[in-house]
Every structure is written in structure tokens, then in C-alpha cells.
């Protein structure tokens, strides 16, 4: 050897032992690519907002599904017979006609219950349109018969219609099928809308993450270059960038869950406070297990979307370098 070195073995050992203690206490394994707090904090806010929208949109779909189920089930196990007073027809009184109808319907197999809607109930139904008062006595109000059927053995509706027509030509059997299909059209539109919002929030999140990642790559250009030159694979570098987005996505998602739960609690409070005939058709915003499961998907989904987007962006950008 050309160079001579004067080594003090005792000093070396002492140093080493001191070092070992020091490292044991201090080595933390810092992240190679540090998170950028100045960009990540606003990013957390924006992604949390996107997650909140996604939560509301997804929850709306679940609520619409439940409402449609409730409605179509409730309606398809119920029929209504409407008997309109016909001007000039005085051969049989309306009361008698109703009695006849009830008799026929009750005798029909598959019908579990048939009863006339009381005057009070009818008035209540019409109140939002006509107001409270004695108007009903002066108006030719149709008489309504509410029929509950056994859905496992439904009555022959065609035959029932025919026999009703014989005794009362102005009687109309309404099985709500038309009503059902209108509800479904409306519900499908709302579902489509909510799903579109869900997709848009995901697309927006991805766009934001692409921008943030590109900014991060520019800011950390020196580190990326050194990592390359000492032999890091692209995937290693991508992982360094991804890691910060895992926790960012999770945190944003949980913030959004909290916001969504709060919103539903408020909505639930409003509905139960003002629940009456005016809003009876509103779906109940109770949180079911399926809602909680869906909400839990939000942070996971946000972390996944952000992480994959970052990975894809990093690989694309550094793939163009040497």
C-alpha cells in the first residue's frame, strides 16, 4: 500500500461502541422523498371535499334504491278502486255501489283486505290541494276503496275489472303499475345522476393528484435524479411518491365520512321532525349497515385512486428520462 494510516484500535472500538448506542437511539429511517406539507395540506382539503361529494352521491343511490323498493313493494301489494260519481245517475246511490264493490272484491280469491277509505282519510289526502274545510261536501268527490292483496297468490285483475265494470261502469281499478313505471323512470334518472357525480369526483381527484405529483416531481427533481444514478428502479421511486398518498387518501376519506354522517344525521332529524303527509314520500335517511360499509369504502377508494394515479404519473414522467 502506498499510503500509511495510523490507526488507534482502542479509539476505534470506543468510537464504534458509542456509535452503536447513538444509532440505536436515533436511526429513524426517514422517507427518501419527503412529503411536501405546503402542497399536501390544500390537497388533503380538496380530496376530502371530493370524497364528501362521492359519499353524498353514493348514499343517494343507496337511499333511492331503498325508497324504490319500499314504494314498489307497498304499491304492488295494494290496489285502489276509484268510484266516480256520475252526474245524472240516480238509479243506485253511491253508498250502495260501494257496498256492492266491497262485496265482490272481498269474495275474490287473493284479496286479503278491502275497505273504503273513510271520509276523513280522503279529506286528509286532498287537503294539500284543496285546503281544510267543508268543501268536500259540496264537491263530487270520488269514493276510494283500498284493497290489499296477497302477493304470493294475486287475484285475477282482469276478471275483477270486468265484474266491477258490470256493476259500476264508472269504477276504475288502479293497480299502480303505471305509477310504478313512472317512479322507476324518475329513480333511474336520479341514480344515473348520482353515479355520474361519483364518476366525476373520481376523475377530478385523479386530475388533482396528477398535478400535485407533477409538481412534486419537479420539486424533488434532484432526489429523483440521484436515485436513478445510484441504480433505483422506476418502481422504487414511484413507491416513494405513492406512500404519502396512501395516508393522504385515507385521511381525506375519513374526514368525508364524518361530514357525510353529520349531513345524514341532520337530514334524518329534519325528516323525523317534519314527517307528515307532506313528506311521506321522502326516503328515510337512516344509516343502514350497507351505508356504513359504503362509507368505509370511501377512504379506501380515495387512497387507492390517489396512489394508483401517482404511480402512473411518476412512471410516465420519469420514463421519459434516461
Amino acid at each position: 500500500m502506498l499510503m500509511s494510516t495510523s490507526e488507534d484500535p482502542a479509539l476505534m472500538t470506543r468510537l464504534k461502541n458509542g456509535l452503536r448506542r447513538q444509532i440505536g437511539a436515533n436511526f429513524k429511517g426517514a422517507r427518501i422523498v419527503p412529503a411536501n406539507d405546503t402542497t399536501n395540506r390544500p390537497l388533503l382539503g380538496v380530496i376530502a371535499i371530493m370524497c364528501f361529494f362521492a359519499a353524498l352521491a353514493g348514499e343517494s343511490v343507496l337511499m333511492i334504491n331503498r325508497a324504490v323498493d319500499e314504494w314498489t313493494q307497498g304499491l304492488s301489494s295494494a290496489l285502489t278502486i276509484q268510484l266516480r260519481p256520475v252526474a245524472g245517475d240516480t238509479t243506485v246511490s253511491l253508498d250502495a255501489r260501494v257496498e256492492q264493490i266491497l262485496k265482490i272484491v272481498r269474495a275474490t280469491p287473493g284479496v286479503t283486505l278491502a275497505q273504503e277509505l273513510s271520509r276523513r282519510d280522503t279529506e286528509k289526502l286532498l287537503e294539500p290541494w284543496l285546503g281544510a274545510g267543508n268543501i268536500l261536501e259540496e264537491l263530487p268527490i270520488p269514493r276510494l276503496v283500498d284493497v290489499q292483496i296477497d302477493r304470493s297468490q294475486p287475484p285475477e285483475l282482469e276478471a275483477l275489472s270486468l265484474s266491477l265494470a258490470q256493476i259500476a261502469p264508472s269504477a276504475k281499478l288502479n293497480d299502480h303499475a303505471q305509477w310504478n313505471s313512472r317512479i322507476l323512470i324518475f329513480a333511474n334518472f336520479l341514480r344515473g345522476l348520482a353515479l355520474s357525480i361519483l364518476i366525476l369526483t373520481i376523475a377530478t381527484t385523479m386530475t388533482i393528484v396528477v398535478f400535485a405529483t407533477r409538481a412534486g416531481l419537479t420539486a424533488k427533481h434532484d432526489i429523483v435524479e440521484v436515485l436513478h444514478l445510484i441504480g433505483a428502479h422506476d418502481s422504487f421511486i414511484a413507491r416513494e411518491f405513492e406512500i404519502q398518498f396512501v395516508s393522504l387518501g385515507l385521511r381525506a376519506g375519513f374526514l368525508a365520512i364524518a361530514g357525510a354522517m353529520l349531513t345524514f344525521l341532520l337530514l334524518g332529524g329534519l325528516v323525523s321532525r317534519y314527517a307528515n303527509a307532506d313528506v311521506y314520500f321522502l326516503p328515510t335517511p337512516d344509516l343502514y349497515l350497507s351505508d356504513l360499509l359504503f362509507l368505509l369504502l370511501i377512504p379506501l377508494g380515495a387512497a387507492l385512486v390517489a396512489t394508483l394515479t401517482t404511480r402512473f404519473t411518476v412512471l410516465r414522467v420519469i420514463g421519459r428520462t434516461l
Binding site: L2, M3, I32
Partner: protein, 213 residues
């Protein structure tokens, strides 16, 4: 395209050889090393390393070759927010090593370059010479097959300079080829190693300036 810095450059490094790369400032030493550590591709000509054609190699194959090359960059290129220890350990971390497996090696190496007390220091708090020693430790820690050092003793006093050179000799004894770029004629005079000299874009080979080795 600007002026051509390297024109007529042709050389072969045997495994286990030790060379100086000299030339005035601006002669193209750093540029030549950059071609060798694959920070640049040549606009013409070819380079083979470890039997691989560097010019046409797909970039996905570069990391495996780069891991066999240790580089002391002229501008150090340490990662400022990482401790001295973490900077030196970086090549091992990238290769997937576990901290328990490299902790002692890294400590020992940093002690050897005289930074045993500065394991937790961040590069910005170190002097130029200290940063250079960290850069050298990082270049040799993974025991590369080829060591490229760009002015590695430029910022340290002669005594530490000798110590650092010793590190390169140790690595060379383990079988690594070593190329040390320097414009320090003193260093070249003292050590018996063949010299690659860049002059006007061409490479001239000279025998060892000193006797020995």
C-alpha cells in the same frame, strides 16, 4: 448542438485496474464520467460496460448496471433532508437491504472517513470537505465493480485526502476498477497509477507518473 467536448476518446479499463483521469478544468473529465455512469448517452460512438452496450441498452436495464458503478459526483448530490447515515445507506436501501444488515457497515465506513460523530447530521450542516466524505462513503458502500470519482479530494486537506485515497485502494484491492478524475498534479505525482489525460477532446494514455504500487 454546441461544441464537441469529447471527440477522439477510446480506452479500455481492465477489471481491477486503477486510473487517473486528468485534464485542465473544462477539458471534459466530468462529461466523460457522465457517459460512463449513464447520466448521458453519447451522440455518437459506443460504450460497453460489463459486456453490455450502454448506448443501446433499454432504460429498464440501466439500474442493474448502475448498481455496479459507484460514483462520487463532483457536486456530491447528497439528499439534504436525510442524515449522513441515511445518505450513505441509500444504495443499500435501494437494493432492498434491511437496516439490521447494513447498520454496522455504514457506521464503520462513516467512522473511517472521519464522520463517526456526525451520523445524524444533515448535509447542509456539514462543511464542503465533510460532504465530500459522505459522498465518497455512499459511492463505496455497496462495494461497486467500478468506482468513478470526480475530483474526490478537491475539498479536503491533504491528510484526509490521503485517507480517502486509501479507501479507493482498498476497494481496488477487492477487485474494483477505479477511475479518479482530478486536476491535482500532486496527487498524480504521488501515486503510481496510469493516467488517462484529456487534451483538446482527445484522450492520451500515459504511464504511471510515480513509481510503486
Amino acid at each position: 448542438m454546441g461544441a464537441e467536448i469529447l471527440r477522439d476518446v477510446s480506452f479500455h479499463l481492465e477489471p481491477g485496474s486503477f486510473h487517473f483521469l486528468t485534464g485542465a478544468s473544462g477539458a471534459g473529465k466530468t462529461s466523460l464520467l457522465k457517459l460512463m455512469y449513464m447520466a448521458r448517452r453519447p451522440s455518437r460512438g459506443w460504450i460497453t460496460m460489463f459486456g453490455q452496450d450502454l448506448v443501446h441498452l433499454p432504460r429498464s436495464s440501466l439500474p442493474e448496471i448502475r448498481r455496479r458503478v459507484g460514483v462520487v459526483f463532483q457536486d456530491f448530490r447528497l439528499i439534504n433532508h436525510l442524515s449522513t447515515f441515511d445518505n450513505v445507506a441509500l444504495p443499500l436501501v435501494i437494493a432492498g437491504a434491511h437496516p439490521n444488515d447494513y447498520r454496522e457497515d455504514v457506521e464503520e465506513l462513516l467512522t473511517w472517513v472521519g464522520l463517526g460523530e456526525r451520523l445524524d447530521a444533515k448535509p447542509p450542516t456539514l462543511s464542503g470537505g465533510e460532504q465530500q466524505r459522505v459522498a465518497i462513503a455512499r459511492a463505496v458502500v455497496a462495494k461497486p465493480d467500478l468506482l468513478l470519482a470526480d475530483e474526490p479530494t478537491g475539498n479536503v486537506d491533504p491528510k484526509i485526502g490521503q485517507r480517502l485515497m486509501r479507501l479507493f485502494f482498498e476497494l481496488n484491492k477487492l477487485g474494483a476498477s477505479v477511475v479518479i478524475a482530478t486536476h491535482d498534479e500532486h496527487l498524480v505525482q504521488k501515486i503510481a497509477a496510469p493516467v488517462l489525460s484529456l487534451e483538446n477532446g482527445t484522450l492520451v494514455k500515459r504511464p504511471p507518473a510515480a513509481k510503486g504500487a
